[in-house]
């Protein structure tokens, strides 16, 4: 299921879980569900409170200087390097892309590397950017047999569309673990393993409309992009939209109501891949915060055969 290029690259144990500020702020269930799944399959991971945000949201908005981004992430790499669980695993594609970009720049630019190492020296940290950077969906794909072996539920009869985060597929586009950047298959292959019917739609690779600052400062970008995205999704008629990005789930979930006036009702639940997999492994909906979703997930839960969340 993994591309040949990803075989052997995706680590099968010892994960340093890298927390996301959007997931932790808006959908804490994403991270709870990740730990639930990893506990079920019995792998070693660290949930280290010391790492900072990767600053990716601010960096891509253009309000975080490159020098600060590099130094804070060199510190984050250093923490992972000093941990027994060294393989960084992100829940957020922006963390994934940004950490990889920091590593890339620091590996190629001697001047920035020296300055960044100097900053770390001043705060008493070793400069070590050796830990690998991975996304949790790749881990699920690499450990899919172990995960499906623990499955107590099925997605048989469920129609879904997938939306992969742009910062997973388009920055380091050669590193997509399954399929390619135009047609990533990471989420598709995980959901199919539980019997899910993945349906196609024309705007698969279109951005979720977040645009970083756009989603906080104006609505033109999110609304124009999402009208196009949702119209295409709705034509496919899925029961659920599956994502791998906390920012994408935020946008796809929070704008459905305000767009109903211009394109009609949408009301399609949006689930992050860890929430879906945790459900398959027996997690209770409220235990993984599904009652915090904006578009209610009860209809989908009932189709899967799970009692819905209380409002």
């Amino acid at each position: 299921m993994l591309n040949n290029t990803a075989m052997g690259k995706v680590p099968d144990n010892n994960y340093y879980l890298f927390k996301s500020c959007v997931a932790g702020s808006m959908y804490p269930g994403i991270e709870i569900a990740i730990r639930f799944v990893l506990d079920r399959i019995g792998v070693d991971y660290s949930d280290d409170p010391r790492h900072s945000s990767c600053t990716g949201f601010a960096y891509h908005t253009g309000v975080m200087p490159l020098s600060t981004n590099l130094a804070l992430n060199a510190r984050n790499f250093s923490l992972a390097a000093g941990d027994t669980n060294k393989n960084i695993v992100c829940s957020c594609p922006t963390s994934y892309g940004n950490l990889k970009e920091c590593k890339d720049i620091l590996s190629k630019d001697a001047d920035l590397r020296d300055r960044t190492a100097g900053v770390l020296y001043k705060i008493g940290k070793d400069y070590d950017i050796s830990p690998s950077v991975n996304h949790i969906s790749e881990i699920f794909l690499a450990r899919l047999d172990d995960i499906t072996a623990k499955s107590v539920r099925s997605l048989s009869g469920i129609k879904a569309v997938t939306h992969h985060g742009c910062h997973y597929t388009k920055i380091f586009y050669r590193d997509v673990a399954s399929g390619n950047f135009e047609r990533p298959m990471v989420l598709d292959n995980i959901a199919k393993a539980f019997g899910c019917d993945i349906v196609e739609y024309g705007e698969r690779s279109l951005c979720c409309g977040m645009g970083f600052h756009h989603t906080l400062t104006e609505s033109e970008y999110p609304e124009e992009v999402l009208k196009r995205k949702f119209s295409s999704i709705r034509d496919a008629g899925p029961d659920v939209i599956i994502t791998q990005c906390p920012g994408c789930i935020f946008n796809l979930d929070h704008y459905q109501e305000s767009l109903a006036g211009s394109i009609g009702d949408i009301d399609i639940p949006v689930l992050y891949i860890s929430e879906l997999v945790a459900l398959m492994l027996g997690a209770g909906p409220e235990e993984i915060g599904l009652d915090m979703h904006i578009v209610p997930v009860d209809g989908l839960l009932e189709k899967i055969g799970i009692k819905g969340t209380k409002k």
């Binding site: 500020c21 908005t61 906080l216 704008y255």
Partner: protein, 195 residues
């Protein structure tokens, strides 16, 4: 000195015009840009705004219009999705160059006011909690923007997160320890002004 143009000689505008010494502009590939337009055809911001084109950003970079670009609203229209980068036949990245232009604009005080306000809010979040976005940050997306049901659910979620064991006003279950926050603040102090 103008290079002699003939067979086998590539025209490069890079030597003629200076651009800020930023690795992201240097590696954006603007000198290699063919002006083919695949980036603009792929760009959600070009679709959303109609008057924005990453191809034009690359053209203006090659003409050395750094100051004009930094003052322009255009660089804030990009949504940073990197479709331009993924689809470029020459592996260029307009989105990457835009990051350098945005940093340059903010440093010289010529970014839009809404961006300056967001920069200040985000820097405070980072200095205070080591996080860029906090649960309260999204309150900016008021009821008018997201609709009444969505806004009501968002407000309820501020309580629901506590039931899941997460902090009410932090993106974490366990806040970043004070010793780590001291390191994070020292890094910001040492680097944020761009040294």
């Amino acid at each position: 000195m103008t290079p002699e143009v003939g067979r086998g000689t590539r025209i490069s505008l890079a030597k003629k015009y200076a651009s800020p010494d930023d690795v992201r502009i240097r590696s954006s590939g603007y000198e290699k840009c063919l002006q083919c337009g695949r980036c603009t055809a792929s760009c959600p911001a070009a679709y959303a705004f109609g008057d924005y084109a990453p191809r034009d950003i690359m053209r203006r970079l090659s003409l050395g219009e750094i100051g004009e670009l930094a003052r322009s609203e255009d660089i804030w229209k990009c949504g940073q999705c990197y479709s331009c980068h993924a689809r470029c036949p020459r592996n260029n990245s307009a989105g990457l160059a835009i990051l350098a232009l945005r940093e340059y604009a903010l440093k010289h005080g010529i970014a839009p006011e809404s961006i300056k306000r967001l920069a200040s809010l985000i820097k405070n979040n980072l200095y205070d909690k080591g996080e860029i976005l906090l649960p309260s940050t999204f309150a900016q997306n008021g009821r008018d923007k997201v609709g009444p049901r969505t806004y009501a659910r968002y407000l309820e979620n501020l309580d629901k997160r506590v039931k899941l064991g997460y902090c009410r006003d932090d993106a974490r279950k366990v806040p970043i320890p004070e010793e780590s926050m001291a390191e994070i603040r020292a890094i910001i102090d040492l680097t944020y002004a761009g040294e």
